[in-house]
């Protein structure tokens, strides 16, 4: 698999969100409980920037219409969206976070 470095492993503090761009792909990096997760950065309902959303536990709430996603698997917890968030495979290597963008 082709991995791309997205940021250093300490770029996103626990409980925080940050957005990075890999080419044209916008990726949301979530530090959930010390675990770095990579998801699509736009809400599947109307395209809101999820980096401006609220993270509470493992639930991310969209800043526009309040759709809720579970950051560990991208699944929808509450609408209006019906479509899950895309998850990207990622891994830490030598202190940096790498993501596979397909």
């Amino acid at each position: 698999m082709a991995l791309t470095k997205i940021c250093s492993g300490d770029a996103v503090a626990a409980g925080e969100l940050r957005q990075f761009n890999v080419g044209d792909v916008e990726i949301l990096v979530v530090n959930f409980d010390g675990r770095l997760l990579c998801l699509a950065a736009r809400c599947t309902h109307a395209g809101a920037p999820l980096v401006e959303g609220e993270l509470s536990g493992d639930i991310l709430t969209c800043p526009w219409h309040g759709s809720r996603f579970r950051v560990t698997d991208g699944s929808v917890v509450r609408g209006p969206t019906e479509k899950a968030l895309k998850m990207y495979d990622c891994q830490l290597q030598a202190g940096d976070l790498f993501v596979e963008v397909r």
Binding site: Q19, A48, P49, E52
Partner: protein, 650 residues
């Protein structure tokens, strides 16, 4: 009162105050034709036989939804047991102001709730000759005068239209206004009023305990009854929910061009960068005019507003739009300039959005009756400079070809003509603060770079003689600035030389122009020494900090203890200097801290005013001010460019 949010589409611009009330509505050009002119469109709630206007008894929070021109405002009245969540916008293509109100009943019992919207139009900005009438075909209220029509209508989420309405008289003895009629929870149903008039409408919803329901409200704007009727039909047929989604998506796509990588920034700075672009865009008329501010409250100060195009402010906005990748917007402005430049080659003090000449306080003669040109020459110079920077970035020679002869050649010919042969500097003109006439360092610096820009354009179009003349003139003017406007004893630039030969030694933040918009580098001694004086004299040590405009600045001055209120633009100039002189990522921090300071001192919505109260940090003077947002965009862009270079070489 500052404007908390501004919404617009280049024809219709609507500004709301911090109680969610419409205070300005300009149509069909984004300037003086303000049909509300600072008056208030109140909103009220009636339930359980109690009435409350949404004002002091309510906790109100206002902001934009991130990355778009739709608001999210909340208002809560605990004693009434009501919460409102509102989304306001102006449709990007249709001249429709749209509002969704989600009414929540916080009490433990079912209730009928009525929401009231009051319309206080002053069509064409004056209070006479208006008509307000119930219009049975649409079921809405129409306000009209001449060729301006406004149709107010709405629906509940279950499809019910206006519950009650009233039109009536205001602002005359014994007539407070139709809004007063709402306070008993009912409206009288008067179907028409003529003269100095207003209107009120209400919607009724039944809410179960701790439940919510939406009410939709809109204002269709047009030139006649047919136009507003068609827009009203679109709102009814398409529905506000769908229209809101269209707007959210459009402006999100607009602002996310992704030509600038914002990832090195903290989130609040990146967010303000995007909000600034959106707020600036609301001030750009679709004919290319860039309005300095839509805030009409400054009317109370001098009976005039900031709703004009200052070519300076427009040029700086164009530089900012270009820095962020929005060349299509800056081109619109340059075409506007191409249309309005005078035959002689200079720009007037300011313009209306239709290109006509704006009001002015610059006289054609001085106190002794001698002729003086009533312009601010830096306004002409900065347009040329911004156009050259635009070309450097986008290399759109076909576009430049359209404006070269009329704009570039004409303006540079004027600049050449308007020089003082004895000094090599320009002849006197008014300064950028619009207060005094003389030969100002800030103006001279911009003229110097304008000559260089015009020389580069001449070379581009293979006019060698012109290139030579302009290049030589630029070099001579740079030398003349050093000879006449730099004081070796003081070790810094001076503010100005006046027509009587006197020299103004006031430390002024615009003395950073030789570096910002002039021919000098950030680390040249003449610049660094000058900046040291600015830091020493103008950095506000007490209160919220920031940088004042100049020593003992009286304009809106809050306290004699502080030399002047902090201005966002002046503070950002210093940040830009710190960024420009940085030689390592660590040295960039000083500039970055100022960017974060600006983000922290913006309104919650991200709006930047002209000045801040030095003690409270509250907004002073026009708010929003496009210039403040433009300087922020430029400072962030320069930071990111420098960060990339320095982090790559670290």
């Amino acid at each position: 009162m500052a404007r908390e949010v501004v919404l617009g589409n280049g024809r219709l611009i609507v500004a709301l105050d911090n109680l969610m009330r419409i205070r300005d509505l300009s149509y069909p050009k984004a300037d003086l034709e303000n049909h509300v002119a600072g008056h208030s469109f109140r909103m009220g709630i009636w339930t359980d036989n109690r009435f409350s206007w949404v004002d002091d008894g309510w906790q109100v929070e206002m902001r934009y939804l991130p990355e778009t021109l739709v608001t999210r405002c909340t208002a809560r009245n605990a004693s009434l047991g009501i919460e409102l969540e509102m989304n306001d916008t102006v449709h990007q293509f249709l001249d429709l102001f749209l509002r969704k109100v989600l009414l929540t009943n916080l009490s433990h019992s079912a209730r009928e709730v009525r929401i009231f919207f009051c319309q206080d139009f002053h069509i064409y900005g004056v209070d006479t000759g208006d008509t307000a009438m119930y219009e049975p075909d649409s079921g809405g209220i129409v306000h009209y005068k001449g060729r301006r029509y406004f149709l107010v209508n709405g629906r509940t989420e279950t499809g019910e239209g206006i519950f009650e309405f009233a039109t009536g008289y205001k602002e005359s003895p014994g007539k407070q206004g139709t809004w007063k009629d709402a306070e008993d929870g009912s409206l009288g149903g008067n179907p028409i009023a003529q003269g100095t008039v207003d209107s009120a409408i209400s919607f009724r919803v039944q809410l179960a305990a701790q439940s919510a329901a939406a009410v939709y409200y809109w204002i269709a704007c047009g030139r006649n009854a047919e136009e507003v009727g068609k827009l009203d039909a679109v709102a009814r047929k398409t529905g506000v929910e769908q229209l809101l989604l269209e707007v959210e998506n459009y402006w999100s796509a607009w602002v996310n061009k992704r030509e600038v990588d914002l990832t090195p920034l903290r989130r609040n700075v990146a967010k303000l960068f995007k909000t600034s672009l959106l707020v600036m865009r609301t001030h750009v008329d679709n004919g290319g005019a860039v309005i300095a501010s839509c805030d009409s409250d400054i009317l109370a100060f001098n009976r005039d507003t900031y709703s004009y195009v200052w070519p300076r402010d427009g040029a700086l906005a164009a530089l900012a739009f270009d820095a962020a990748g929005f060349h299509e917007v800056s081109r619109m402005f340059f075409l506007f300039c191409n249309d309005v430049i005078t035959q002689r080659g200079y720009f007037h003090h300011k313009y209306l959005a239709d290109g006509s000449r704006g009001s002015s306080w610059h006289a054609w003669i001085d106190s002794k009756g001698n002729y003086q040109l009533p312009i601010q020459e830096d306004e002409t110079a900065l347009v040329l400079y911004a156009l050259w920077r635009h070309y450097q970035k986008y290399r759109d020679i076909e576009f430049i070809g359209k404006v070269y002869g009329n704009l570039v050649v004409r303006a540079s010919d004027f600049i050449l003509e308007h020089r003082d042969e004895a000094t090599g500097l320009s002849k006197p003109s008014f300064d950028l603060w619009e207060e005094k006439i003389g030969v100002f360092t800030s103006t001279a610096a911009t003229i110097c770079t304008a000559l260089t820009a015009a020389a580069e354009f001449a070379q581009l179009f293979y006019d060698s003689k012109r290139h030579e003349l302009l290049s030589e003139s630029a070099a001579n003017m740079k030398q003349a600035i050093l000879t006449h406007l730099y004081d070796r004893k003081l070790g810094r630039f001076i503010k100005a030389i006046y027509p009587d030969g006197s020299r103004d030694l006031t430390v002024d933040s615009s003395l950073m122009f030789p570096f910002l918009y002039g021919p000098f580098g950030a680390v040249e001694e003449v610049v660094t020494n000058t900046v040291s004086s600015i830091v020493d004299k103008l950095q506000v040590k007490a209160g919220v900090g920031g940088v004042a405009r100049y020593e003992n600045d009286e304009y809106c001055r809050v306290s004699p203890e502080i030399t002047g209120n902090p201005w966002f633009v002046c503070t950002l100039w210093l940040a830009r200097w710190h960024i420009a002189r940085a030689t390592s990522v660590e040295e960039l921090n000083e500039g970055l801290q100022t960017l974060e300071w600006v983000a922290e001192h913006s309104l919650r919505s991200g709006i930047l005013s002209e000045q801040l109260d030095p003690y409270t940090g509250g907004p002073i003077s026009a708010s929003p001010l496009v210039w403040s947002h433009a300087e922020f965009i430029m400072a962030v862009s320069e930071y990111l460019d420098k960060y990339r270079v320095l982090s790559a070489t670290a």
